[in-house]
Symmetry: D3
Subunit: 72 residues, 6 copies
């Protein structure tokens, strides 16, 4: 009976990326925990950049200064 929530900043996540996350997490749980996927729900929740703070600063401010969350 897993319930998974993925919270991310709202920065242009596409419908296809969301589907890839949903499918990937559900498959992972099915494989690792042997759970029936019909009992697994995955919810993606996006937050505006003013609403997410990292190290005490709004992400909107970090982005304005050119600081991204991209993999190096």
């Amino acid at each position: 009976m897993p319930f998974v929530k993925i919270e991310v900043t709202r920065e242009g996540v596409t419908k296809a990326q969301k589907q890839a996350l949903i499918k990937g997490v559900t498959d992972l749980i099915t494989e690792v925990l042997n759970k029936d996927p019909h009992l697994t729900h995955v919810v993606i929740q996006e937050h505006d950049l003013d609403d997410w703070g990292y190290a005490g600063e709004q992400v909107s401010e970090l982005r304005a200064r050119g600081i991204t969350a991209d993999k190096k």
Copy 2:
């Protein structure tokens, strides 16, 4: 001191339905746990159909194929 969150897909839940959920859950908790209702908060959070996955698929895709969550 209860806090209740109800997460559902965004599919036309009306203001009256929300009020019925809030009233119903608060009354239930008052009755079962004998809690002062002034300490009970209930929050309803709706998620877009692209953001909710069930059994590895976006609900938007399930609905497009005619699969609903309606009680049979």
Copy 3:
């Protein structure tokens, strides 16, 4: 596809009370939103009294001073 979380202080909630909450919330959602109950999950999460703060004070301290959350 509802997911409901009920967070309360850990103050002797019995198994039967938990079942009453689970049954009551599921029935309410089925009735108000016409949802298939097989898509509704309800989770009860208890928190120790040191971990819940109300009006700036730990509930453990409030209880020690005789302040309860009981319905009047």
Copy 4:
């Protein structure tokens, strides 16, 4: 590794107030728990007044009757 979520009703919280909350909570955790702020994330989530219930009533209804959440 702290993660903090602040849930409030959507009633005109400004970007500057959000920044003050993010900075204040991060500083508090750094000071009290001695945590590296680069591991602290703070998320603010606003809920519409129809979606938040207090004592069994929608906040939208409470506000319409002149009942506020303001400090006295």
Copy 5:
């Protein structure tokens, strides 16, 4: 800046399974969203069987009747 929470019933999930979930979800998010993994936190939260309700019944009761969540 993703934060992921995986909620499951407490039914003997091992440390190695938890590590597999953490690694798998982090890799998935890095790959799909191109996020720096040093900004991704994954939390696994287990709930006792009396605390999780499905279709209006406690999972402890479902398990006692031989109903599992295993993949068929």
Copy 6:
């Protein structure tokens, strides 16, 4: 009507530290948002080190290698 949840790893947070977090967050919200503190609830939730993953690794493994979350 704020509800705040602070999630941290379980690494010896004392009752006094919890009280300092609860008081500090409640005061901050009262000051920044002018909210009546009797409507503010703060919950602290600790997670075992095996249950929290950072950058794809369990915190229990990071700690075993001498990597802390302490402020430098």
